[in-house]
C-alpha cells in the first residue's frame, strides 16, 4: 500500500468496516461476555491492547518472516500478547479476570486480531499498523460496550453495575438505576438476548447507512445553481 490515509483507516475501523457489526468477526466474545457494561469494557480494553501490541510486533517482523510460516508466527505473537494481558488482569483486576474466565485466553482465537495481522500489519509500516490496531480495537470495543449497555439496561433496568471491578473501590457507587421497581428480564442476559440485540445494532447501522446514502443521492441529483441561460440539450455542469 503506497499511501495510507489515517482518516480512511479511522472511518473503516469505526464505521464502514467495523469488525463486530460489518465483518461480523469475533462474535464469540461479543455474544458471550456482553451481559453488562463492565464485562464488555474489560474485554474491549483487553482486545484493544492485544490488537495494538500484535499489530506492532507483526509489522516489525514483516520483512523477516517468510510467507510460508507467517500464520504460525502471527499466532505465536498474538498468544504471547494475550498471555501478558491475562497476567496483567490477574494482577490488577482479579474479580473481572474471574468473571471473563475462558473468554480472556480465547482472545487468541479472535478472528479480528489474526485478520488485521495478516491483512494489514504484515503489509504496512509500523505507524499505520499501530493506528489500525488501535482503531479496529476501538471499533470492536465500542460495539461491545454498546451491546453490554443495552443488555444490562434491558435485563436489570440499571447501568454501570460493579464498575469497581475495573476502576477500583471508588467506582462502586456508579450504578445508575434508570427504572425503579423493574422486574429482571432474564432473556436479555441469556445468549438469545445477545443475538437479538446484535441484530438490532446491525439493523440500526443499516438504517443509518441507508439514510446517508439517500441524502447523498438527493444532493447529487440537485442541479447546480448558477446557470446563466437556459440550455435545451445536455446537462449543466
Amino acid at each position: 500500500m503506497a499511501e495510507t490515509s489515517y482518516r480512511e483507516l479511522s472511518l473503516n475501523g469505526i464505521w464502514k468496516n467495523n469488525p463486530a457489526i460489518v465483518q461480523l468477526l469475533g462474535l464469540c466474545p461479543l455474544l458471550a461476555v456482553t451481559g453488562s457494561v463492565v464485562n464488555a469494557l474489560g474485554l474491549g480494553l483487553a482486545t484493544v491492547l492485544v490488537l495494538v501490541s500484535s499489530n506492532t510486533a507483526v509489522s516489525l517482523i514483516r520483512n523477516v518472516v517468510s510467507e510460508a510460516v507467517r500464520l504460525p508466527a502471527f499466532v505465536m505473537i498474538i498468544a504471547s500478547a494475550v498471555t501478558c494481558i491475562e497476567l496483567l488482569m490477574q494482577a490488577f483486576a482479579y474479580e473481572l479476570y474471574q468473571i471473563l474466565g475462558i473468554f480472556l485466553p480465547l482472545i487468541t482465537t479472535n478472528c479480528v486480531i489474526l485478520g488485521r495481522a495478516d491483512a494489514f500489519a504484515s503489509k504496512n509500516p509500523l505507524l499505520p499498523a499501530v493506528y489500525d490496531g488501535l482503531i479496529m480495537g476501538l471499533g470492536f470495543g465500542v460495539i461491545l460496550v454498546l451491546l453490554g449497555a443495552m443488555r444490562e439496561l434491558a435485563a436489570t433496568g440499571a447501568l454501570f453495575a460493579n464498575m469497581d471491578l475495573l476502576f477500583g473501590p471508588g467506582a462502586a457507587h456508579w450504578r445508575l438505576v434508570l427504572f425503579t421497581d423493574y422486574k429482571d428480564f432474564l432473556l436479555a442476559i441469556l445468549p438469545p438476548g445477545a443475538f437479538i440485540f446484535t441484530g438490532l445494532i446491525i439493523a440500526m447501522k443499516n438504517l443509518i447507512d441507508g439514510q446517508i446514502k439517500a441524502r447523498q443521492d438527493a444532493v447529487r441529483e440537485q442541479p447546480e445553481a448558477g446557470a446563466k441561460r437556459v440550455r435545451v440539450t445536455g446537462k449543466i455542469h
Partner: protein, 345 residues
C-alpha cells in the same frame, strides 16, 4: 332417480385468511369456557388485554413498514396469536407480563422475520418461551382450580385488578398438576392421587375439562378441514405411546399414565391449535406425520426429564427448526416421475 353430475372443482366461496382465523378463534371457545369455569375470569382478561396490545403492535409495525394498516389488521392473524398466547399464560397475569409476551410474539417473532407467512417460529410460542425463561416465577404461578383447592373463583373485578394493579391482588395459587407430579418423590401414582385431591380423575381438576374443550374445538376445525389430521394425531399417538412405555405401572420411578399426559397441561391445546399452524409446520403429508410424532416424543421427554413444568412450547419451537429439513426429505414425487430421477435439491 336422477343422478346429478356436477364436475369439480366443488369449491364454494373462497376460504380467506380472515375466515380461517375467525374460525380458529371460535374453536378456542369450549376450552376457554372450561378454563374460565375452573380458574375464574383471569383467562378472559388475559385474552382481552393481549388482543388489544396485539392490534396496537401490529398497527405500529405496519405503519413503520409503510404497509396498509387496516388491510393487515382485518386478517385477524394478530388476534389469533394474541389469543393463543393469552390462553397459554397463567390467568391473572399482570399487564406488563402480557405486554412483553405480545411484543415478543408480534414484533420479534412475526414481523422481524417478515410478517405473516414468513415467520419460521410459531409467534405465540416464542412469546410464551420468552416469558417462561425470563419470568419463571410469574409464569408458573397458576390459580387454584374450583373444586381442587379453591372454593370460589375470583370475580371479574378482581381479575381486572390482578391485571392492572397486580400489587394489591392476592389469589390462592398452587403448582399445576404436572409440576406437582414432577416432585412426587417416593409416592406411587395411586398414593399421590389419594393425597392430593386436585389431581382429579385423570390429570387434574379443571385441566381435564379444559383439554376436552380444546379437543372438541379441534375436532370441529378438523371437520371444517382447516387442517388435516396427520400432525395432531401423530403428536397425540406418540405422546400416548411414550407415556405407556414409561408408565411402569404407577411406580414412583415411572411417569404419569397416558391419560395424565394426554389430558394434562397444554396437550390438546398444543395438538390442535399450535402444531397445526400452517406457516411453521411441515407441509408434506409424510412430513406432517413425522413432525407431529417428534413433537409428541419431545413433549414427553421434556416433561418427564426436563426442568420446566410443561413442554409443548419448547417441543414445538425445536420442531419448527426441523420443519424445512423434514419437508426437504419428504417431498412427494410428481406422478409419472421417478423418485431418483427428479431434480431434488
Amino acid at each position: 332417480m336422477a343422478l346429478q353430475n356436477i364436475t369439480s372443482p366443488h369449491a364454494h366461496g373462497p376460504l380467506t385468511t380472515a375466515k380461517v382465523m375467525r374460525r380458529l378463534l371460535l374453536a378456542t371457545l369450549p376450552g376457554v369456557v372450561a378454563l374460565t369455569w375452573f380458574f375464574g375470569p383471569g383467562t378472559l382478561v388475559n385474552i382481552a388485554w393481549s388482543c388489544l396490545l396485539a392490534l396496537g403492535c401490529e398497527a405500529l409495525v405496519m405503519t413503520l413498514r409503510r404497509r396498509p394498516v387496516g388491510f393487515y389488521l382485518k386478517d385477524c392473524s394478530a388476534l389469533v396469536t394474541a389469543t393463543l398466547l393469552a390462553i397459554a399464560m397463567p390467568p391473572y397475569s399482570p399487564w406488563w407480563l402480557i405486554l412483553v409476551g405480545v411484543a415478543s410474539s408480534i414484533v420479534v417473532a412475526k414481523h422481524l422475520y417478515g410478517g405473516l407467512g414468513y415467520n419460521p417460529f410459531n409467534p405465540a410460542m416464542v412469546g410464551y418461551v420468552v416469558l417462561l425463561i425470563s419470568f419463571p416465577v410469574e409464569m408458573t404461578r397458576w390459580a387454584a382450580p374450583l373444586g381442587g383447592g379453591a372454593t370460589v373463583t375470583p370475580g371479574l373485578l378482581q381479575a381486572l385488578q390482578a391485571c392492572f394493579n397486580p400489587a394489591t391482588f392476592d389469589a390462592l395459587t398452587m403448582a399445576t398438576p404436572l409440576d406437582l407430579f414432577k416432585q412426587h418423590g417416593d409416592l406411587t401414582v395411586t398414593e399421590l392421587w389419594l393425597q392430593y385431591p386436585h389431581f382429579g380423575r385423570w390429570s387434574g381438576v379443571g385441566w381435564e375439562w379444559a383439554n376436552l374443550g380444546f379437543l372438541a374445538g379441534g375436532l370441529w376445525l378438523l371437520y371444517l378441514r382447516i387442517f388435516t389430521w396427520h400432525a395432531p394425531l401423530a403428536m397425540l399417538a406418540a405422546l400416548a405411546l411414550m407415556s405407556a412405555l414409561f408408565y411402569q405401572g404407577g411406580n414412583p420411578g415411572g411417569a404419569g399414565s397416558p391419560w395424565f399426559h394426554l389430558l394434562g397441561g397444554a396437550t390438546m391445546f398444543g395438538a390442535f391449535f399450535i402444531v397445526t399452524d400452517p406457516v411453521t409446520s411441515a407441509v408434506s403429508t409424510t412430513g406432517r406425520l413425522i413432525y407431529g410424532a417428534l413433537i409428541g416424543v419431545l413433549i414427553f421427554v421434556i416433561r418427564v426429564w426436563g426442568n420446566y413444568p410443561d413442554a409443548v412450547a419448547f417441543a414445538v419451537l425445536i420442531m419448527n427448526f426441523a420443519a424445512p429439513f423434514i419437508d426437504n426429505y419428504t417431498q412427494p414425487t410428481v406422478y409419472g416421475h421417478k423418485r431418483d430421477g427428479g431434480s431434488k435439491p
